[in-house]
């Protein structure tokens, strides 16, 4: 499924051993994908390959991270992998929705690629419907995390220090039986499936998610990427880090074209 780019750098550019892999879930508000865009754009990450898959709706366009005419003409498709060797960071960006009934095969293939590429850990960036919060979740931070048992051993303590909130489980049969609790991530797309599969396959995975609604999700993306930064310290700064994330050129015109002058 993974096809490396021919960059003349040899296989070094697609050596992901020991790296942290960021994967966005296609979820409410596309927050994970927007956050991934911010990371790729800010660090000017190099494209090292793509996924040749029949599980996502096809799309193609010119380079979404173009900064000048010279780099504006490279084609970009629906699932591409970017790398930043200096920070041992790899990002998979997904740009289109899943084709019906194909999300399961995609998850299987993705997780076996994660295992074969020997990434140290995976961080899944996701979101969940804000309107499905219970009374307690309405108060306080809208950001949550989850860790697979294998990663819990490594970084569970750090999460406590950061004062992060773990995603709460909900009653399996609300109103009838409150003792049995299950994980429920409405609007999270493949988040729950990837997380439960990673738990059973012994993959070190963290899920970082934000409660949000559809709308202008740019602030949600900034919130999620700052949350990620609290842990990974990709940008070291004592002051407000929001201003240090670079918005990609493809975020122009998110809400439509200019207005016709004849309207006025």
């Amino acid at each position: 499924m993974f096809v490396p780019c021919d960059r003349g750098g040899g296989s070094a550019s697609s050596d992901f051993k020991g790296s942290t892999l960021l994967v966005p879930a296609v979820s409410v508000g596309n927050v994970g994908q927007l956050a991934a865009d911010l990371v790729i754009s800010t660090f000017d990450m190099t494209k090292v390959g793509y996924f040749y898959t029949d599980c996502l709706v096809p799309m193609v366009g010119n380079n979404p991270y173009a900064t000048a005419e010279e780099n504006a003409m490279e084609l970009s498709i629906n699932a591409e992998v970017y790398s930043l060797p200096s920070k041992k960071l790899v990002v998979l960006q997904i740009r289109s929705p899943f084709i019906k009934n194909k999300y399961r095969p995609f998850c299987q293939t993705l997780l076996s690629w994660v295992k074969s590429s020997k990434c140290a850990r995976v961080v899944l960036l996701s979101s969940s419907h804000a309107y499905q919060r219970d009374d307690e979740q309405l108060l306080g931070t809208p950001l949550r995390y989850l860790l697979t048992p294998d990663l819990e051993k490594a970084v569970g303590g750090l999460m406590q220090e950061l004062n992060w909130k773990e995603m709460e489980k909900v009653a399996a049969y609300p109103g009838i039986n409150d003792t049995e609790k299950v994980l429920h991530i409405p609007g999270g797309g493949i988040t729950k499936l990837l997380f439960t599969e990673s738990c059973s396959k012994g993959i070190q995975m963290a899920v970082l998610l934000k409660f949000c609604s559809e709308g202008d999700n740019i602030p949600d993306a900034f919130a999620l990427v700052n949350y990620l930064n609290e842990w990974l310290q990709l940008i070291k700064s004592e002051v407000n880090t929001s201003s240090q994330w670079k918005i990609p050129s493809s975020w122009r015109l998110l809400f439509g074209n200019g207005l016709p002058p004849a309207l006025f």
């Binding site: 929705p97 899943f98 999270g188 797309g189 015109l253 074209n257 200019g258």
Partner: protein, 218 residues
């Protein structure tokens, strides 16, 4: 989500279908459901039928891959009509294949005698240079069939030295630009090209954040 009028609606998410419910359903699928799903998948399979020189039809898998230097694909009614009006004629071009498919939007047949208003997907070859192929695809190829179309059609072609040109149309209203599309002189051409394409492109490249989707993208 509550709207201004007070009723509660389920907001459609840009993220696509929330598959949580269907995930649970998949686990509880009865053998009957599985059978229905398999039948539906079979119905949505694409058949590419090539007509050999002798006039006999055969399944694509039995053939040797075609040697192909140029492949022009016209997707959609407008692009197909362009080829019909300006390029195709019965003297220089021969029909060499057809795609048979079904989806909720259209059905094509394996007849090569089609009307311009039909939904069809036909392949032609230039008689004077049999390495030049043309495809008119005026039917809609659904999301789950696009990859299959791609693999089955290109699976029959030798890809060395192959140049592919894809012609397609999009509504002007979908074009994202700083000005309003009302004042844009239309129609206008934009292009996307791979870095292996070294020739001069005859029109400006498609600017960000515009994208191409569906079969032309595949």
């Amino acid at each position: 989500m509550a709207t201004f009028f007070g009723e509660v609606v389920v907001a459609p998410s840009r993220a696509g279908v929330d598959d949580e419910e269907s995930a649970e359903e998949a686990c509880e699928e009865t053998p009957e459901d599985r059978e229905i799903r398999r039948e539906l998948e079979k119905k949505r399979e694409i058949d590419v039928l090539w007509t050999l020189k002798s006039g006999a039809s055969s399944e694509s898998s039995a053939d040797e891959p075609f040697v192909c230097s140029t492949f022009i694909i016209a997707i959609g009614h407008n692009a197909a009509a362009f080829l019909s009006s300006f390029i195709l004629d019965s003297v220089c071009w021969e029909v060499v294949g057809v795609v048979k498919l079904w989806n909720e939007w259209c059905r094509t047949s394996n007849t090569t005698n089609v009307l311009p208003t039909d939904s069809f997907c036909l392949f032609y070859r230039l008689i004077s240079d049999p390495t030049v192929f043309l495809c008119q695809c005026s039917c809609y190829v659904a999301e789950d069939q696009q990859f299959q179309w791609l693999e089955k059609v290109f699976g029959c072609m030798r890809k060395e030295g192959l140049q592919v040109t894809i012609l397609s149309t999009c509504p002007v209203a979908d074009y994202k630009t700083q000005e309003s599309t009302l004042t844009l002189p239309s129609p206008f051409l934009k292009a996307l090209k791979t870095k292996e394409f070294k020739e001069q492109v005859c029109c400006p490249l498609l600017e960000q954040p515009n994208i191409v989707r569906d079969l032309p993208a595949a």
